[in-house]
Amino acid sequence: MMIALGLTVSRFVPPPCQALRCGGFQLVCAPLAEAGSPRDRMRLHLDCARWLPTLLPFAPAERTGAEQAVLWCAARRDRIEAALARLEGGRQLSLAAGPVAEPPAQPQAAGGADWLRRRAALLRERAQALERLRAELGTACEGLAPRDRREDSRGDGLRLHLLVGREEAAAALERLRQGLAPVPGWSLTVSGPWPPYDFTDLGEVA
């Protein structure tokens, strides 16, 4: 069984991947033995991204057979071609920020109204802290001029994803290394270049 990994315009893909022609683009797939787990598929994505200028990756968590993927692609060729053109040479840099420590335990509330008041104050504080963090990251990313950016806040943390050109990724990381300073109270992890996982929307509504 072959597992679908993503789409590209290049005809030559690194082994053990293979390319199946699918209209004006190629479906990248790999044998199940090599692409059995989500992390196997992500590893193959990274291998492909080293060789292929453009890769529209399928979600690594999803295991889809190549036959099914071919049918799926045939039904939406125009959208896929548009997405491949939009992502041409695109790579993703991700900035993940999480609070360094758990917030200090609150003293026992005097009653329901007091508990609600404290909770509202805590939420307000968190929102302000996130806003300050967003501003810090925004300043650090100012000179990068990414082609696109996405933000994803989860819980107390924040993730910022930047779409940059394949050729510019190393320089963009270096620039972040120079310009990004630690933000008090936050732990920041900058990673990349990744395949453009957060920029793959095809304009479909579920």
């Binding site: 992500m42 990274l46 999803e62 799926w72 290394r177 990004l180 732990s187 990673s191 509504v205």
Partner: protein
């Protein structure tokens, strides 16, 4: 051990790490990308915990109505 205040990691490093923050970072990306059928394995540290299969209907209500095999019932009229 506390996370460092600022660090840069390569994707390969994050992928092979067992450290909580990096595992979480990779897990956050695993569900991103093009989703064909909504077959999702929820994983933590590469252990598949939950499997969900969601068949999505990607269409507009108008297109759905046009594709229906039977026309909508017409109101009853007196004969």
């Amino acid at each position: 051990m506390a996370d460092p205040p600022l660090r840069f990691v390569r994707p390969e490093e994050a992928l092979s790490s067992r450290e909580g923050t990096l595992v979480e970072l990779v897990d956050g990306l695993l569900a991103r990308g093009v989703v064909i059928r909504g077959e999702i394995w929820l994983t933590v540290a590469d252990v598949e915990l939950v499997f969900l299969r969601l068949d999505l209907l990607l269409t507009s209500p108008e297109a759905l109505a046009a594709d229906r095999p039977f026309p909508p019932a017409s109101p009853l009229r007196p004969s």
